[in-house]
Symmetry: C2
Subunit: 466 residues, 2 copies
């Protein structure tokens, strides 16, 4: 059935509906434009209308009405996702959760809240309440929502200690509304969490989350410099392997990233300076400085609690994770990026190999990550973009060497992931979204079960560019 947009809008007119065209356009976009590939394909995508529910009852109402009128619904937290995750490929309704920002309960080690609360506001509430904070956050902490992080993100600042969002224990409970004739409310824990976490809102809308907390400290943020790149990588790895030193971030930037793209750092480094960004717990600073003292190859050039730089560089984590790409893009619009997994135990060798083959076309940006109890690296490499063909070749070179790629130049779950169908997500979609109206075009397994991944998937119902 074709979508009855007018009918749905009319039925929802008593809710907070956005009417202004520029606002609708803005609420239909995310950070897809980090990818030249996606920029080409998705730039024109726009919703028919935007609605902002105030509570779960309104979410249910919206889903019910849109179901009745065959209107696709794409959920939006803050729209800071990178792969067009939050973009309504077919148009329809964008459901924006900004009003659903209540922090409901805080206990030792956990918090219960609505999905639309900003990571920063959630941390402020738990810190104020009992000196606690999220175990990990996206580097878009200041602007992103917890619901968007769970439905679209993977990990971030804190993952060097706690692993990824998908690891057991990093999400406690999700409350989810389905898109059926009569929407149901379901509570997921344990094995069930994988149905809807990192599912881009394709099979249910998260209306409440319960997350574990860690103690909030006044993290000491630092930059450490080395002349040799592998020294920087080894430094970050060795630090993360210090069991008694508590860290929240360890990021490695190949030269000349710091000099070329980090404006406020540039005066204090050379073009051949490799940089390490760190967050260390204050009670671990004595241990950290002892560790540093054993490594004459590394120089502490900045710490946020004691520095003489003319201007503060701002939070160090806003240089890491995908903020590195953002800073590079601002200076050189031809930059894009790749997401690489350098797994244990060959991670350092693999990094060295890829760098030898591809630098400076591909510059190494590494994030320390825990995976299966081991310290490994996630690469968010900066790529000097030339053509889509060359980008694909660079990806192939990584894969051939044994470095797994999570392709950020694709808008489907499968292509951005392990290129395999997630059965748990697909099965739940069949139950929870029988008409396939939730964030359409993002799950290949739903649209085209026999797809063979030999080329980039193109959603047949993608809006046509004007």
């Amino acid at each position: 059935m074709p979508a009855d947009i007018a009918g749905a809008k009319a039925a929802l007119s008593h809710l907070d509906i956005e009417e202004k065209e520029v606002a609708i356009k803005a609420a239909s976009r995310d950070f897809f434009w980090y990818s030249p590939v996606l920029k080409d394909r998705l730039d024109h995508v726009v919703a028919d209308f935007v609605v902002r529910p105030r509570n779960e009852a309104e979410v249910i109402e919206i889903l019910k009405v849109c179901y009745a009128h065959d209107v696709p619904v794409t959920t939006r937290g803050a729209g800071t996702g990178n792969y067009g995750q939050a973009m309504p490929l077919e148009g329809g309704c964008v459901m924006h959760l900004r009003h659903m920002d209540k922090v409901k309960e805080i206990h030792p080690g956990r918090v219960i809240c609505e999905p639309g609360v900003l990571l920063k506001d959630l941390d402020a509430a738990t810190k104020e309440h009992s000196g606690q904070e999220l175990r990990m956050f996206s580097s878009t902490w200041a602007t992103a929502t917890i619901g968007g992080f769970i439905a679209g993100g993977s990990g971030g600042v804190g993952s060097c200690t706690w692993g990824s969002l998908r690891d057991l224990g990093n999400i406690i409970r999700l409350r989810v509304v389905t898109m059926e004739e009569e929407p149901r409310i379901v509570e997921f824990t344990g094995e069930e969490l994988a149905r809807v976490s990192h599912a881009y809102g394709t099979n249910g809308i998260i209306t409440e989350v319960e997350m574990p907390l860690a103690p909030a400290y006044d993290w000491v943020e630092m930059f450490v410099a080395t002349d040799d790149f592998m020294d920087a990588a080894r430094f970050a790895e060795a630090l993360a392997n210090q069991d008694g030193i508590l860290i929240k971030l360890a990021t490695v930037f190949e030269a000349p990233i710091a000099k070329d793209y980090f404006q406020r750092v540039a005066p204090y480094v050379e073009a051949d300076t490799n940089l390490i960004g760190l967050m260390v717990a204050p009670q671990s600073m004595d241990g950290f400085l002892t560790f540093l003292g054993r490594r004459p190859e590394a120089r502490l050039i900045y710490r946020n609690d004691d520095f003489d730089w003319a201007r503060t560089p701002g939070p160090v984590f806003e240089y890491g994770w995908n903020h590195t790409t953002l800073r590079a893009l601002k200076v050189d619009p031809s930059i894009t990026y790749l997401q690489v997994r350098y797994g244990y135990p060959n991670h350092l060798d693999l990094i060295e190999k890829m760098r030898n083959e591809l630098s400076p076309e591909v510059l190494q940006h590494l994030e320390v990550l825990r995976e299966g109890g081991k310290v490994i690296f996630a690469g968010l490499s900066l790529v000097k973009f030339t053509t889509e063909e060359r980008l694909d070749e660079i990806i192939r070179l990584h894969e051939e060497a044994g470095a797994m790629i999570f392709n950020p130049h694709r808008y489907t779950l499968e292509e951005g992931g392990r290129q395999t169908v997630d059965d748990r997500q697909l099965r739940f979609k069949k139950e929870a979204d029988p008409k396939g109206l939730l964030n359409p075009g993002k799950m290949i397994a739903w649209d085209d079960p026999d797809w063979d991944y030999s080329r980039m998937y193109a959603y047949p119902k993608l809006q046509a560019a004007e």
Copy 2:
């Protein structure tokens, strides 16, 4: 110069001096008798007098007076050490720190206190103040002091997450008094901490400690059972490698330890049941139960927040670390133990090999430990003692297989450690204890620099048995 005991006692008579013979005898002993080897050699050891300083000024006075009168001083926390660490081999003064139990300052992530406070009381104070607790504690938590833990211990409950006491960051600062004509006060941080931590009080007396804290949770204590021993070991390792599940203890007991030695557990297990003791953070229980559900070979038989056993087994950690030995000894006095390091990455293979060779003469008791960022096992194996020769042979079999032994049947630092001189400790002893009066007989490097470790060291000035 011979010790002038009477002169020292007279000069210290205004302090809290213990006069009763049985009390002096009691304060001259520790848990050395876990070792039949040490029991034979040290049972008669007794101090000439015991003095209990109330503050640092009195510590200084005692050291000064004993220095002037050439009286050896052996410091005592609570005397729960295992290797005669706290025993005055030459007699002289035992300085008992029980009065020095003040908790001075508590901050986010750290605490400053006197050395004589019990671990349990320290945790109670930091928990009450701000929901914090020590990162790790000896399983003698209820009776041991923080000073004794630092000067004599190595790690314990919490080391599965935080590593060992010697790891950078696990001690922040130690304030130390030397034994010279004019005792000096020195503050140690960073590299200097290794001079006096785990030095048995041979080169300075710790009068103040600053330790890192972790959040205090209402840990869920559990017993999990398996039929196959290696399944239990793999379970504990895999759990510790779950980055998102916060644990404080993971202990593995080979059958029939649980049936034979754990009275209150025995009714619920069989002779061939292998047991795993666990402490898991409450916010991690959903993750833990999910993990457990994936392992049908493991059965949850007890959790302290929900059980139907006739009697509570008490704290699960009081089954682990060296409490396992204690429980076995109570049932079978011929049991003793070994301390083994099963290092990464061969730990599991090595454990299986040693078990195949030596069980049931040697029963596996394993503690999950972090070392250099990796999950490994510390073994506190239960040994059915026959002769000293056979015990030495069992040690040799471990060493030949590549499992390092920390011999608990020796009273010197070197023999209980890596059989090498700790230069940092020796050098500081030369400065801080020029007459060699602090806990004499415990540092071979001081007494006999050319000792070759081919046989057990026998301190020449050890009191003669009557």
